[in-house]
Amino acid sequence: MTGSAEAKVRISDVDVIYPGALGASAVHALDGIDLAVRDGEFVSLIGPSGCGKSTLLRVLSDLAKPTEGSVVVAGDDPRRARLKRKVGFVFQDAALLEWRRILTNVALPLEIEGVPRGKRLARAQELIDLVGLSGFERQYPNQLSGGMRQRAAIARAMSTKPEVLLMDEPFGALDQITRDRLNLELLNLTQKNRMTVLFVTHSIREAVLLSDRVVVMTARPGRISEIIEVDLPRPRTLEVRETAAFAALANRGVHLLEMGSKT
């Protein structure tokens, strides 16, 4: 087993098998996944569609159950960790409530937790400022662009101060310019707040830019094929993408992905 005692997330020999519906064969979504994520580490999961990267995040957040193996999130099993609000989740879709203003949308997890109104709105305002949505707190989601909606979703996921932040292709539906900008801001956010992040993406460049480690996965069954250590110095900016070291890491990732997809 890899990983030391202070691992924030420990995934041990996890299998997820979805039973096939009506004659279809069972899907082996994850096969023997072993991974330990250190406190404050940013880890990206990358791989072809169907490699189970989203499934892995769903297992960590108790949205799916592992068929085999064990998972520890911030010292608890996923269910306990979820009930203790140790996990934040940002989905590809912002999934905001259309009938609520941005402020109360961001405060939603705190409202569910039972935090008094004044306190939770103050916290929501803090987060809105943090993600650069100041001045938009009174707007409704449909008045905001895709990038701004995703900022609100990030703020919402951070509202309960989760120990582990899970992000499932949060910028996948955005245009390149918005994506670059949000990458930079996420970089700053995680570097300042020292969050433990598991980040699913299709973009190897995005993964290398943001991560301490990039986990490359293969599909059917979903397995970890290799882990790339990203030793680029921090704090990073977008300019790091122009360095030779970055290019070498990105190329290695592309190469690994291609090898994986040939099998």
Binding site: S61, R85, A95, L108, I112, G132, S134, F136, G147, R181
Partner: protein, 279 residues
Amino acid sequence: MRSASGAKGQPAPHRGAGTRRMLTWAKEALLPPVAVFILVVGLWEWGTHLFEVPVYVVPPPSRIWESLLFDGTAIFTHAGITFFEAFAGFVIGSALGIILGTAFAYSRFLARGLMPYVIAANTIPVVAIAPIIIIWFGHGIISKIAVTAFLSFFPLALNMMKGLQSYDRTVMDVFHVSAASGWQKFVKMRLPTSLPYVFVGLKLNVTFSVIGAIIAEFVQADRGLGFMIMTAYRTLNMPRLWAAMLVSALIGILFFGIIALIERLAIPWHSSMRSNQKP
């Protein structure tokens, strides 16, 4: 983290933003139907005189108006009774529909077990079941309310169930990760999501409830618009019949307007409520 990316620059909808908006609204929304009304009534009056149309075929608007004035308060007393029956039946039927629709949304067993029978009940023509309901509930106003409630029940049961099931799966995941209780999911997510569907059902019920009340009065009544229509028909008092018909339509319009206003206040966020802001 200061600047926010690409705002659409769309202003927030202001409530009660002055008289200028009221004037544009009057010009754009009110003027066309009023103009059409004046034109149609004018042509109607002129046409019936020009072609000497017999009054029992199509009475001219002036004769209908006379009939309205002649009856004085009588017609509005009848209308008031019918409106009350329609409204009470609407409230009771809709409330029962909401309760059963919620039960269907939460219990697959109930939905599968009861739905075929509810659909079957809904296919019964109201004119066939009205006499039975009147036998059960007597000759008073209660039986009219019961017929109306029977008609109002189905649209809401179905729309409530659909509405409660139409939530976004990712939003449900957000609630799950936030450790929300079943009650919190219901109140903070599924119920608000269902509101647009509920209003579709309520608007259908407005029409159904007026129909239900009048049909029940056709079968047996000594007051109400349905009673008035039947007696005018038997005595071939056609202007009075037309007057009753128009008043019944007026009730429906008034009723519909109330529901549409409540909808506007209840779900301003829904896309169907923004259709007039952007083409």
